[in-house]
Structure formats: structure tokens, C-alpha cells
Amino acid sequence: MSAGLLGGVSLLASLFFSVLGLAFSGLAYRFRDTRYLEAAKRAAPLVFAGLAAAFLALEWALITHDFSVKYVALHHSVKDPLWVTLVTPWAALEGSILLWATLQSLYTWLVSRAAGKQLDVWRAPIALATLFGIQVFFVSVMVFMVNPFTAVAQPPLDGNGPNPLLQNHWMMAVHPVLMYLGFVGLSVPFAYAVSSMVVRRYQSWVHETRFWTLVAWGFLTAAIFAGGWWSYEVLGWGGYWAFDPVENASIIPWFLATAFLHTVQVQERRGLFKAWNFSFITLAFAATVFGTFLTRSGVIQSVHAFASGPIGVVFLGFLLLVLIVGFGLLSKVSAELKDAGEIRFNSREGALLGGALLFGTFAFVILVGTLWPLVVEAASGAKVSVGAPFFFQVSIPLGVALLLLMGAGPVLPWRNAGTQVRRNLFYMGLSLGLGTGAGLALGLSLGVSLALGLFLYNLAAVALMFSQGIAERGTSLKISALQAFLELAATNKRRFGSHVVHVGVALAGLAIAVSQTYRIESEKTLRLSEVWNVAGLEVRLLPLTLQEESNRQAIIAPLKVRSTSRLSWGAGGSYQPRLNFYPSSRTPLAAPHVRYSLFNDYYFVLQEFDRDKGAWATIRLIVTPMVLWLWISGALIALGTLYLLLPNAAGFKKGATAPSA
């Protein structure tokens, strides 16, 4: 049996089992019969098995160079190294939809396994029906529109290989998978929300939904940082974020999921904000579908320029369906969702709502900016693009407000603020003032000084909360501070994890402000052994070399760099910026050589070289401070999220007995 045949059959089988699962879930709901529910649950692993088999069949076809499969012929070459071959399934549309559907079925399977414990027999059929419905959509798109196993009548001897940009950095093996795990993961909270609206139980869904949202959010966050890293290390422009439509498509669901993660705590604790939670989670899932529509339909011009096709229309329809289901149900039950409780603005719940509204606003502003070119073109026919300055301009006030709330919110107690809180807020305000003042005194720009102040303000908030918690426990139980700290860290994972995430976000804010403000760029054509004095460095060009690799050729311009000032400490040594020539691409791709140091990054790009004699090369140097800290902040956020998700016996019991309104 050929890989193509196996893949095609597996896809059909998974479509069949998805429809079966959907039908059984529907019957289980209609007749309130757990036997149908059991049948639906059994369909979930079968769908996963079918899609996993299809995915492996695609890998098999790639590894065995089976060019009778069109996808392999278009996106693979016998010269590809093994790791490139293994990541080729998500190098183009058909394969990435297959990966998407496979991960979706994995989530569905995990939910079906959890259905006994997490979901009661009333909600489980609806949650599973929603997930099977999404599954049917994705598998149908593959079977009927973008089949990865379409055959070629006359297979070529070799193919083009995947997009050179994807072969240039190993991060491409990681970033898309994380992104899909995040995007797809948001379907589970949506399914849970739909099920609780259908069966009209508005409280119990939030605990398990918070868990699933946190899982998806963690992957999404990691994916966004990984994408920034990839952009920085590969694209050669020295930046990590440009508010490109594709990047916006990933950040909009992130903001909405973040908003949900904040308001959901108020519902867990006080039973308020039910309607907000349903709305945020519906919007977050809809935003992932919208992002797919945006990037796959070609309606918006983007540097990423994915292949366009009829698939856009289908995704638009699916987006409308998601919104209609989510908000249709919400409007039906809205009369039962009235909040019975007062919210003070100077309380934890007030700060959480404020934060969620800021996140929602952020998502909305980025959505408007992304779609505005369509509005202008429809209205006046002019072709426009919205520049990155717009996004930065709106991000700064929103970012500052968020960082302010992020520090104050966790310090504020539930319901009402007391005296100790006022003292804490005073110390935090003092840190903010001192940090900003110190920044200005050092001659930093206002924005960077404010970012520094906000970072210290947030550190102060976390430090105060830690130290007071430790002191309280230490004195009441008469144990040492260290023991108190370890016990708190072990028993109150939720609080400590969120502190770690918040410190990561505050650090990211500082790193973004500094790296966006103080960036030096310089470009020069160097002759062999000519010395270039720039940014506290002495740069010398050594003879160019050619390197042969299986899938490409590379021109390397070795640079000998000596640091001549204290600021550039650690930047010395040799650099190998290169231009990679791929047979499938007319344009050589620059692979910059980056060296991170605690303060500055030194980023050398080979722009052009003497093709006749190799006597000169044009080199670009970009010096950006604190980018390393941005990656560290990403790691902190990921670790904090992981810590939040670790099973916690004490915390779980506490969550399970939280008051239900």
C-alpha cells in the first residue's frame, strides 16, 4: 500500500468516525442515554488514530521521497536534511491543516477521557458534539478541498523543497506546532462554554475551563515568543515584531484568552461575570478561526503571503457559525446570567475586570487596525496599509495601563481595600516614581524611564506579597522563613505561578520598551581586512568562504570583531553572517549571526558581496539592547504557566469546594 493511499483512506475513516461521534453525542443529548455517550467517547480515539495515521503517512511519503503525492512533489526535495523533511508537513497549506486536525482530534480524545470526571452526563454530550462538529469541519475541508494526498499522474524525480525561509532555522520545527496547539486548544473551552449554556449550568464549567484555557494560553504564549525569536534570528531585519496581519492574527486570540483567564477567577471566587466569561471565550475561539481565515484567504496583504484559495470563504462561514452559536446561546440565556453582587473598583475583582477590559480593548484596536485597509478600499478604492506606528501608538497607553493594573490588582484584596493594602500601594507607587526618576536622571527617554519605573513597581508588588505571605506563615506556625516560602510555593501554586508569569510580563514590557527605543543600525561595504570602527567595536572582514550543504550553498563572510569599549564587553570574537542560496529560490536568504550579551545584542548581516573577486562585502550591524531579556521573560512566563498547571492536590480540593453561586 502506498503512503498516499493509506493517507487518503485514513482521512476518510477519521471523517466517518467524526460524523459518527457527532451523531452519537447528539443522540446522547436527545435521549439522555449514557450508552450513546459511551459510544461517542469511543469514537474520539478512533478519529485521532485515523488522523495520526494520515499524518504519519504524509511523513512516510516525505521520508521515502514519494513524489507521486502532489504535496511531496511541491514541497520536498531529496536534498533536504532529515529535520527539514520531518517538519515539511507544516510547510504549506494542506499539511498544516492536517496537523491542525490531528491536534484537534488529540484534544477531543483527551476531553472524552476526562468526560467522566470533569463533565457531568448532561454537559458531556454537548461538549463532545461541539468538538466533533469542529472535527467534521476540518476533516471535510481536507477531504473535499485541500487534500494533502492528491496524487500526481507523472511523478517528478525531485521536487522543489519547502520554502527556504522555513529551512533557515530550527525554530520552524517548534513555532508552528506550538501555535497550532494554542489555537486548537481554545476549541475545548469553547466547547465547555457551549455545553454549559445549552444545559443552563453556569457555574461548574469555569474550573475545568480555566485549566484548558491555561493549557492553550501557555502554548500560544510560547508560540508567540518563538515566532518573535524566529523573526529576529532568520529574517535579517533585526526585529521581532512588526504588527504584520499574521502576527496580529496570533495576538488577538491571546489577548482574549488572557482576558478570560482574569475574569474567570472572579466567577470562581464570587460567581460574578458569567456573561463576560462566555463572551470572552467565544471571542477567543472565534479569533483563532478568524486568524486562520485572515492568513489563508489572501484578503489582507502580508509579508507572510500564504497561498490563497477558495478555503478562505469556507473559514469565513465557519467563523460566522462559531459566533452565531456562541452569542446566540448567550442571548438566549442572558436573562439568567444577571450578576448578584456589587463590584468595587478598588478591589481585586474590580482590577480583574479592568484588566480584562483592557485586554479586550487591545484585541479590538488591533482588529480594527488589521481590517482598516479593507474598509478604506471598500469606501474609497484607495489601497492603503496601516503602518506599525499606529499599533505602537495605541499599544503604549494600553500597555502602561495594563502594567499598572497588573501590579496593583493582586495586591488588592477581594471585596474591599484595607490599610495594609494602602501601605503596599504606597511602596509600589514609590518604586514607580523612583524608577522613572532614576531613568530620567540617567538620561533615558521618557518612555523607557516609565517602563523601568513600571518594572520596579511590579517587582515591588510581587516582593511585598511574597514577603508578607512568608512572614504571616512563619510567625503563625513558628517556622523559618525558608520553610514558610517552600510550603507556600508547594501549596499555593496558583498564586505563585501567577506571580512568576506577572514578573515575566513586566520584564517583557521593559525589554520591549528598551529594545524598541535604543537600537543602532549601521551598514558599510568592507574590503578584505579593512577595519570598521562602529558602536564600540572594531570589525575586520576576513576572506569569504563557500560552504556546500546538501540542500543549499552558503557564502560566509567571517568577521573578526574586537570590543573597544566597556559597553560592548562580550561582543568580541568571530562572527559568520552568511547568505544561503537555495536552488528553489532566486533570492539568497541572509542568515544573521547574533551574539547576545546581558545588555546589548550584536547582530551582523551579510547584505551583498563581490561576486567577481570576493574582494568586498557589505555588512550591516544592528545593535539592540535587552532582546536577550525578552526571551528570558518568555521563558519565565512559560515556566510560570507550567507551574500553574502542575497537579496540585491541595489546590485542586480547594478549587473543587469553591463557593458556587
Binding site: 504549506a92 497549506l93 522543489n160 520554502n163 527556504p164 525561509l165 529574517l235 509579508v303 507572510h304 503571503a305 500564504f306 497561498a307 480593548t361 484596536v365 480594527v368 487596525g369 482598516w372 478604506v376 484607495a382 489601497k383 492603503v384 496599509s385 496601516v386 503602518g387 506606528p389 499606529f390 501608538q393 495605541v394 497607553p397 551598514e523 558599510k524 561595504t525 576572506p543 569569504l544 563557500l546 550553498q553 557564502i555 542560496f581 536552488p583 528553489s584 529560490s585 532566486r586 533570492t587 539568497p588 547584505q607 551583498e608 563581490d610 561576486r611 567577481d612 573577486k613 570576493g614 574582494a615 568586498w616 557589505t618 550591516r620
Partner: protein, 142 residues
């Protein structure tokens, strides 16, 4: 609804409206061709625009020492001289399409960025170097 809530909402909505629509108006980057520019010169003067067209044959001058790049962009009807500082990207060739982001400065267009698309669909190399040619070039450089 209490008056103070209403007041708060009005303030927030107004601030948001200003932030979005004030910011959008100033930061719209128009995409135009040379002919469109000459239809309404005043409108595009000294604001960021994207100028698209073909690189006119024989007009490219590049000084690798000063990194000064000059060329003429044309849409077959009208032409505009462009100056830019930096290495031309590899896809930049005579008679090829190009999009330059920058500002008009009198008669001349000062480019800040030459835009090249990263495409997921690629064609077999046409005018570029074949691996054999490339190898030859490099071997001769040593």
C-alpha cells in the same frame, strides 16, 4: 445606570475613538503608482506612502561605498526618480516590480524601505544563478 458610570463610559469610548481613529488617519500608508501620484500631488507630499512600479531599464545607479542607490520607478506612463540608502535586495532588478516605502521630497522620492515579499509559493529559478554558475563565481573569487 448611575451618572458616574455613564460619565466613565463616555470618557473611555471617547479616548478609545480618538486613539483609534486619530491614530489611523495619521498612520495610513497609501499604496500608489507614479500616475496616481501626479493626479493628486499635494495629497501625497511629505507623508509616508508606498510607491509601486517597475524599475526602469538603465536607470539603476548603486554606489557600494556610500550605499547610495538611485533608480527611476515607472508605470509605463509616468516616472519618478527614487533615492534610497542601503544594499538593493537580490530580487531588485531592472524591469522588475518594486515597492518602495518612503516620502516625496520635491521631485524626488526618498525611499526608506524596499519591500520584498516572502512568498510561500515559489517558482523554479528563472533569471537567478543556477548552483553551477554560483559555484563558478565563488571559486573564481579565491
Amino acid at each position: 445606570m448611575k451618572p458616574k458610570h455613564l460619565f466613565g463610559i463616555v470618557v473611555v469610548v471617547a479616548a478609545l475613538g480618538y486613539l483609534i481613529f486619530g491614530g489611523l488617519g495619521r498612520n495610513l500608508v497609501y499604496f500608489i503608482t507614479p500616475s496616481e501620484y501626479f493626479q493628486d500631488q499635494a495629497r501625497y507630499q511629505s507623508r509616508l506612502v508606498r510607491l509601486g512600479g517597475l524599475v526602469k531599464a538603465g536607470s539603476v545607479q548603486y554606489n557600494k561605498e556610500t550605499l547610495a542607490l538611485r533608480f527611476v520607478i515607472t508605470d509605463g506612463v509616468r516616472e519618478i526618480p527614487v533615492s534610497h540608502s542601503g544594499t538593493p535586495p537580490a530580487l531588485f532588478k531592472e524591469n522588475q516590480g518594486v515597492v518602495v516605502e518612503g516620502r516625496f521630497n520635491g521631485e524626488e522620492f526618498k525611499g526608506q524601505e524596499l519591500l520584498v515579499k516572502h512568498s510561500e509559493d515559489y517558482k523554479a529559478p528563472g533569471a537567478g544563478y543556477s548552483p553551477e554558475q554560483l559555484k563558478k563565481i565563488i571559486q573564481e573569487t579565491k
